[in-house]
Point group: C2
Chain length 413, copies 2
């Protein structure tokens, strides 16, 4: 498995583009993106679990029900959520515009939107921008970056990557791009993720690999506890790599699922690092829980705690808040058998053993916690002091900063 350039345009069979059509009225930024496959692709997607779903989510769920996708049309600057029948019509129109421009049925287009909730989507701006959008398409890095820019809102950096691996004797590529910074917990809130691959793979196995990868990556990310109306992660497989089609579980499927999970974890870390106002990526690892689900719940409770997040911002080795957050996670464990370490590139320090403080250097702890990427490592030992259960999970989050409050105090204006 190796890193390659080109993001979602790295796999064979895809072009992308992005323009400014005027949805972000007061901004010169791009706001309309297209990812176009040369041929209909096998597709799979996961969507927000919020009961309030954007029109784009409802339409994409309907269109992807058959597992075939030719294109994604996405806008930023407007979520097209809580917009009623008018919003639903606008989302359908977006899909139809993509189909008309490139000669495929509207049902083969997925639609995505992100931005402010409750404001009618200016569909005329999108209609007026379709020619320019088509002209912006390319199969190289320029097209990929234009598309990526066009789905960004409060994102401060572009988040994308591509990987190549060998499957069935030949090279297979995956590329991904995401947007999102606030509202990413517990299940992919305000995030859009688009992944392309040239692997030949059945719809069922593509879906299985996506669900597993998302469970271990995007769904283990927490920025502020809110779950949005608009989230989706979509993967399109063109089959252009020419590998023997992956149609049952086995070595080829495992290789594909592994590279997909690696890609998703890479994108998840980028999202956490770009959490609204975030100054540090915080990785929380829990080991020794009764099972993986218990470990995940405990780790998420720590990564979501406003008090832990604020302490990370202050580089304060406040391990008591870590124990406190474990304590209200709703999962049984022995508080008197917990070990906590803080770690980063600056080192590793033990601060709590058997649920109580051990002497440590505050200066060293502060140095460790001042890094841009920090780790909270929690071991749930057996009461006897030996190893705990087999459950282990890694969760990603970020610190809580002044800038988070600033960004969200007046988002609409």
């Amino acid at each position: 498995m190796q890193d390659i350039e080109g993001g979602i345009c790295a796999p064979k069979g895809f072009r992308a583009g992005g323009i400014r059509c005027g949805i972000k009225a007061s901004s010169a930024k791009r706001d309309l993106a297209l990812i176009l496959a040369d041929r209909p692709c096998t597709a799979a997607a996961v969507f927000t679990t919020n009961r309030v779903k954007a029109a784009s989510v409802l339409v994409s769920q309907e269109h992807l029900a058959g597992g075939i996708c030719r294109a994604v049309i996405a806008n930023s600057g407007n979520a097209n959520a809580c917009t009623g029948a008018q919003g639903l019509a606008a989302a359908r129109r977006m899909a139809a515009l993509a189909g008309e421009a490139f000669g495929f049925p509207a049902e083969q287009a997925a639609v995505a939107s992100t931005g402010v909730i409750g404001v009618p989507l200016p569909i005329a701006a999108i209609e007026g921008g379709m020619d320019a959008l088509a002209a912006s398409l390319s199969g190289d890095a320029a097209g990929y970056e234009a598309a990526l820019e066009a789905i960004m809102t409060t994102d401060t950096r572009k988040k994308g990557c591509a990987l190549e691996t060998e499957i069935g004797g030949g090279a297979v590529r995956l590329g991904g791009m995401v947007k999102g910074s606030g509202m990413i917990h517990p299940n992919m809130a305000t995030m859009l993720g688009f992944i392309t691959t040239d692997a030949a793979i059945s719809r069922e196995l593509l879906n299985r690999a996506l669900v597993r990868s998302v469970a271990r990556s995007f769904n283990r990310l927490t920025v502020d506890g809110d779950t949005s109306t608009n989230d989706m992660v979509l993967i399109m497989a063109s089959g252009a790599a020419g590998n023997p089609p992956i149609e049952q579980e086995g070595a080829d499927y495992e290789a594909f699922a592994e590279v997909l999970e690696t890609l998703c974890v890479r994108l998840t870390r980028a999202l956490a690092q770009d959490g609204e106002g975030a100054s540090r990526l915080v990785t929380v690892t829990v080991r020794g829980a009764s099972g993986e689900a218990a470990a995940e719940t405990l780790a998420k409770s720590v990564a979501s705690s406003s008090l832990v997040k604020a302490a990370c911002f202050g580089a304060d080795a406040n391990w008591g808040r870590v124990l406190c957050a474990l304590g209200y996670a709703g999962v049984p464990f022995d508080p008197e058998a917990v070990t906590v370490r803080f770690a980063s590139a600056a080192g590793d320090i033990l601060v709590c053993r058997k649920g109580a403080q051990v002497p440590f250097s505050e200066e060293k702890a502060r140095e460790i916690l001042s890094a841009g990427e920090i780790e909270i490592r929690i071991d749930l030992e057996a009461p006897s002091g030996g190893p705990g259960g087999p459950g282990e999970a890694v969760v990603w989050g970020c610190d809580l900063t002044y800038d988070y409050v600033k960004i969200n105090g007046d988002y609409r204006t």
Copy 2:
């Protein structure tokens, strides 16, 4: 029912006091409090549900098991949590010191602590302060205020009140005081609440009234989603009012339960208003849910949302975030039948009907949301537009501000 002066010293049979014994090493603030009843009282209490429980909680649970309490000894500056066997011994010693000083069994003392987690409690400072603590006792406002000051940590204001009502033909009084500002959701985190009454009431009914009142007040408060290791709400009934003892449900019990709930709601609002860094008290009301529990869950989801809280800080009428938070609460409702209003002393404005925006004046909305106390009113109508279900609940919270981050970024130093 009427307001009276004197807080926890207003009911007959109680004295209180507070001193500085030196637990808060770097501060001149009071850190040790005592509430002393003239005679053993009937008592009831509720405690944190966190699995990591402070030594003070463990000892108080044990001591109050019999329903008899003569005194509460409480310290601030140190939570005595995650302190192992040494911490448990220190908490027992606190109870014994109170008993020795006033000639009652240690088991009749409740113990409470609040402050930093994981640091050994300096019990010698408490031992050394007992004479001064006894000397500080009084049955008037001075004693009450000294005790209240001595349990405060990041609290910025004193939070207490007293009410008088008529039960069984005579006057009965209740007084209460609380500390707490961060970590108050979902179940009374980092809060201590002490309530006194001179009502004569059986232990069983006292407990029933307390549990009901706490469920509708302190447990409907959310500041930052964390639940602490140390919380408790304790009520002591001296019986000195001389009312016919309340030993079964009926008019007297209902009158007592009503005044207790009013007192608890009063204290809850004071806690929300003093939430760490809070600039506004935010009241969220949900009507039309299928039941009270559903209404409470929905209202808490809105009041806990970091995005809603940040919008309140910015006086931004971002009703889309309200719908979004309802959507991930995990309770069924029809998103297309939701009405949202914002209200305050400056007026009342409809911003969302049937789940979609209605035209409204941004200027007026900003004026309403700039008040110190604001209300988010949510009606879940029937899909036909008529009234929704019978479920209704009120929840209290506060906004998310720069100061919250500042206070919690470096709490220990």
